[in-house]
């Protein structure tokens, strides 16, 4: 195989077709074509990556790819290798498509022999190479254009078509190929003001000039302006007709800009140089003036720059020293500069004017270099004559100041901004006792009393900040000896020409003496003030006491007034009757309750003796006696009596009385407070009545229960009467009647009849409603009476009755019927209780005796079964009964009666087998009703 064999990649999956192609190619110049076979796209791509082929033959229908996509993929993978499509079909449209997709040529399978294939391959290869080369050139050109900001364009005048390179688009400010290029668009991109000029130039070239070149501006779409150099040539045909215009655009903007900047800078520089007050001149290496600014010209006294340029400056202006000695150029520092290349600065020299006068100068010289080589020097100088004068004046002033400073009577100091004593005068040293050196080694903070330091520093800072321009204060310094010195300090701040603080100037005045005098004065004044204050305080105090006294008096009066009003109101609002009598029983106060109760107004009764008209005649003497007792000082006392109202009504008042005595113990007034108990009394009586009725009803019912016994009891005397009567008749009928017997019989009749009557009488008495009147009675009598009443009952129940009645018992004040009822009830209960005991003994015992607390006690004891605890509790309940028949009112009423008398009724059950009922009654005492 020859070394330069053409490498062919055949991408064909059909083995027959592949073999055919290979065969055909091998027929042509054996060995010229080296065919590699790939049966799929994937295989093809792999092979492409390994080997650089000269051409690729590809069947577009592959197992793993189809149609144009195959083509594209291969084209992508080997962009510089010509691709020839193998197709089974001859399809022109498809051919075009393949060409557009990157195929160089198109072969129909089965058409053509090996030579044809070889030719196609060769042409395809050639074409590819040419295209590649062209493409490369194009790219290079574009690159060159871009770098040089150049664009080229071609205007085909015959066809009217334009072609612009990328550079042209860029210069115009567009993206390459942003729009189709035309001449009109070309002109549009040109700055309006220059457009006509450009168009004319191009037309002129077309007419015969052949070429044109001009600079003009271009307006970019972003609004920026560019400057371009536009050059072109016209190609003519044989007849002299313009065919084509070949143009080149070059963007000059950068360069133009740079020139502009340079120009502007030069201009500015010139302005500065011309404007400065200092003189500036330049010299070359020979010392010849190259330029001079107006200030230099003026200061040296010449007419214009021209007068100086070309001359030797040194000879003109810098030839002689101040002292008059001449100065050769070689010794001139300026000269040195453009020789050595070093800068120099001289601040005290002299220059000479044209007219021969001189002036003091300060100057600076710098070397000039061009491309690193010395080419001359530039000097700037200033007239310092004035400055010199000022300096001299300043020195003089300082001198004067120093003198003043030293000789001042007061202490003076120059103090640094940190507070150090920079310069001190002797006076100050005398004040504080330090030597100048000692003082200058310290600062004012050290010798200032600590209490004054803050104030001082505060002012210092204000001064430094410029808030104040001076301050003055009294402060203390510590003398070297250790005692304090009072000084008056005045401070101002010296600033330099920049306004920066330089140092303080302090003036110190010894004011110790003055201070002491002030202190003495102050003390005196204080003392005086003190005394005045004291005096004032005393006066104020006295005033206050006086006011308080007055206030107190007023308050007391007010209180009294209020008390009076209060007591009046109180008296009037009281429900109780309040009447105040004087020592003669005359009415002094008579409250509203009294008015309401009696119908008299205070006005009607005032001053009248109360007993004359308010009392019931029956009570008058008793009440008066009480009044006299009160007046004699026996109080408090209580009693009840009637008041007779204006209309004659009687009100029962319960009084509680007291008296007011004066400081000698004599009764001034009698105060009686009463409550109208008329209603209450009525209520009490009603209640009593009610109770009495209830008791009566109870008695009736008791009697009802006792009916049998009563009947039986009556039966006895009646039976006896019948017997006696019959006996009488028999005796009288007999032959010899015994008169005595008859008498006995009749006597018996009478006696028994009386007995019966007595029973009935007792009964009636017991049953009577009776007035609820209390009367004095002997309890034993009551007991006996009850026993007679219950006699039949007792005997009927075969009960043994025992009476143990105390002797010498005091009397009681009771409602006899009611108490008898109580005793009878207890007796009957006892009998009934024992009746339940079948075979046992039936003993009823009644005891009377004195009891504690000034009372009488009655005990009714039986030998019955006793009372169980559950019954005891309920015993005194109304309607509670253990009896078969019986309404059970007895004990409740008994208790009510006993308690109504002020006594108590209770039971002690199981009193040695049985029950014992007890009740007490108060003994009659003296009552003041």
């Amino acid at each position: 195989m020859p070394a330069n064999a053409t490498q062919i990649l055949l991408v064909e999956d059909n083995p027959a077709d592949a073999r055919l192609v290979q065969h055909l190619l091998s027929e042509v110049d054996a060995g010229r074509f080296r065919v590699t076979l790939a049966r799929s796209l994937g295989e093809a791509l792999v092979k492409i990556s390994h080997t650089i082929f000269d051409a690729i033959l590809v069947d577009l229908s592959l197992p793993d790819s189809f149609g144009l996509d195959t083509l594209r993929q291969i084209s992508l993978a080997s962009s510089s290798v010509p691709i020839i499509v193998l197709s089974a079909v001859h399809d022109e449209t498809f051919q075009l498509e393949t060409a557009a997709a990157g195929a160089e040529d198109y072969l129909v399978k089965g058409h053509g022999d090996g030579n044809d294939i070889a030719r196609v391959i060769r042409y395809a290869t050639e074409r590819k190479r040419a295209t590649e080369t062209y493409g490369r050139r194009e790219r290079l050109l574009a690159e060159a254009e871009r770098t040089a900001h150049i664009g080229n364009w071609v205007w085909d005048l015959a066809r009217g078509e334009c072609q612009w390179s990328d550079g042209v688009y860029r210069i115009f400010g567009y993206e390459p190929h942003a729009f189709p290029p035309t001449y009109e668009r070309f002109l549009d991109c040109i700055f309006e003001g220059d457009r006509s000029r450009v168009a004319e130039s191009i037309e002129a070239a077309q007419r015969g000039q052949r070429s044109y070149a001009l600079e003009h501006r271009v307006l970019r779409p972003d609004g920026t302006v560019r400057v371009v150099h536009n050059r072109g040539e016209i190609e003519f045909d044989n007849s002299g007709k313009p065919q084509r215009l070949l143009g080149i655009l070059k963007d000059l903007t950068e360069r133009v800009r740079a020139e502009q900047v340079l120009h502007a800078t030069e201009e500015r520089l010139r302005l500065v140089v011309d404007a400065v007050a200092e003189g500036i001149f330049g010299v070359d290496l020979d010392g010849i003036c190259t330029f001079a600014n107006p200030a230099c010209v003026r200061m040296l006294g010449y007419a214009s720059e021209a007068a100086l340029v070309g001359q030797r400056i040194h000879d003109l202006a810098h030839h002689t020293r101040r002292d008059g000695s001449s100065c050769p150029a070689e010794e001139c520092p300026i000269y040195a500069t453009y020789i050595t290349g070093d800068e120099c600065h001289v601040d005290d020299d002299i220059m000479w004017r044209k007219d021969g006068t001189s002036f003091d100068v300060e100057y600076r010289t710098s070397p000039l270099r061009v491309n690193g080589k010395l080419s001359g020097a530039v000097t700037i100088f200033a007239d310092i004559t004035e400055r010199r004068l000022v300096q001299e004046a300043l020195a003089e002033s300082e001198q004067r100041f120093r003198g003043a400073f030293e000789t001042a009577a007061h202490g003076m100091a120059l103090v640094s901004t940190e507070g150090r004593f920079v310069k001190v005068n002797q006076s100050l040293c005398n004040i504080v006792g330090y030597s100048p050196d000692e003082l200058m080694a310290t600062n004012f903070q050290t010798i200032t009393h600590k209490d004054d330091l803050e104030r001082d520093l505060d002012s210092v800072h204000k001064l430094l900040r410029g808030e104040i321009d001076r301050y003055q204060m009294e402060k203390r310094y510590w003398h070297k000896d250790g005692h304090l010195v009072w000084i008056l300090l005045s401070v101002s701040l010296v600033r330099d020409s920049d306004g920066q603080p330089v140092h303080f100037v302090s003036q110190i005045q010894d004011i110790t003496a003055r201070k002491q005098a002030e202190e003495a004065l102050r003390q005196t004044r204080d003392e005086l003030e003190q005394r005045v204050v004291q005096r004032t305080t005393h006066l104020e105090q006295a005033n206050r006491w006086l006011e308080e006294e007055i206030a107190r008096r007023e308050r007391t009066e007010e209180t009294l007034r209020r008390e009076r009003d209060f007591s009046s109101a109180l008296l009037d609002t009281l429900g109780a009757l309040v009447v105040v009598l004087d020592a003669d029983a005359r009415i002094v106060r008579f409250n509203r309750a009294c008015e309401q109760a009696t119908g008299y107004t205070f006005g009607e009764v005032r001053g009248r003796v109360f007993s004359d008209f308010l009392l019931d005649p029956s009570e008058k003497s008793a009440v008066n006696a009480t009044f006299r007792s009160l007046r004699a000082g026996h109080f408090p006392n209580k009693y009840d009596n009637f008041w007779v109202a204006k209309n004659g009504d009687k009100r029962l008042i319960s009084w509680s009385n007291t008296a007011l005595i004066d400081e000698l113990g004599v009764v001034e007034h009698v105060i009686a407070t009463g409550i109208d108990i008329t209603e209450k009394r009525k209520m009490e009586e009603l209640e009593h009545q009610h109770l009495a009725e209830l008791a009566h009803v109870s008695r009736l019912s008791v009697m009802g229960e006792m009916a049998t016994e009563i009947a039986h009891e009556l039966n006895q005397p009646l039976s006896s009467i019948v017997n006696y009567g019959n006996a009488c008749r028999r005796l009288l009928k007999s032959s010899n009647p015994d008169a005595d017997d008859v008498d006995v019989a009749l006597h018996g009749v009478i006696e028994q009849a009386q007995r019966a009557a007595e029973i009935i009488r007792r009964l009636r008495s017991f049953l009577a409603k009776g007035d609820s009147r209390r009367s004095t009675a002997d309890i034993n009598e009551l007991v006996r009476e009850v026993c007679k009443l219950a006699d039949a009952d007792i005997r009927a129940h075969r009960t043994r009755l025992t009476l143990r009645l105390g002797t010498g018992l005091p009397l009681v004040r009771v409602d006899i019927i009611l108490i008898e009822q109580v005793i009878l009830n207890l007796v009957r209960n006892a009998i009934d209780a024992m009746a339940e005991v079948a075979g046992g003994r039936r003993e009823l015992r009644i005891d009377t005796a004195r009891a504690a607390g000034n009372r009488i006690q009655v005990d009714v004891t039986d030998t019955g079964p006793g009372i169980g605890p559950d019954v005891v509790q309920r015993l005194f309940e109304p309607f509670f009964t253990t009896k078969q028949s019986g309404i059970g009112m007895g004990l409740a009423i008994c208790r009510s009666i006993v308690e109504g008398h002020g006594g108590q009724l209770w039971v002690t059950p199981d009193h040695i087998g049985g029950a014992s009922f007890h009740f007490t009654l108060p003994v009659q005492t003296e009552n003041l009703t």
């Binding site: 039966n715 006896s720 009467i721 006996a727 018996g748 009927a796 075969r798």
Partner: protein, 203 residues
Amino acid sequence: MSADEAATIFIVDDDAAIRDSLQLLLKSAGLNVVCYESAELFLEAYDTELRGCLVLDVRMPGMSGLELQRALNERNSQLPVIIMTGHGDVPMAVDAMKAGATDFIEKPFSDEDLLTRLQSSIERQQRQLAEHANDIELLQRLSLLTPREREVMDLLAEGKLNKVVAAELDISPRTVEVHRARIMEKLRVKSLADIVRVSLMIS
């Protein structure tokens, strides 16, 4: 009214007036009267020889009328008892009758009423006493019988014929006849019926 000197009326009542009035009344009727104010006192004085009638108040404290009756019954008292009741004492009266009271009378009562009852009570007692005496005598005579006679009597009293008795006792009928005659003689009875009666009495 025939006054029997042996008959005394005993009055037991706690009410003095009742005692006195009754005493006067009965005396006026010619009777002997003795009063006791309590049952206990009467009991102390009691003996079986008392003849007459007891008039007893049914309501008394201490020993009641009923208790006295029971006490008397224990003593086999033959004394007739008339109880005096008050108004509404019916239950007491019933108890008293059950306890052997002869009669009762309700206060106040007429004298005729009382005397009549007393009479009949006394007569009854006499009769009873007579009977009792007879019976006593009879018993005495009975003790005179020999054991054999006693046997014969018992059998005869059963209604057995002589020969049956003879057969049972293994004696001759003749002997039985002999015994029978002796029995009647000793007992002083006249007929077989009387023998039966005596037999019944002693059983």
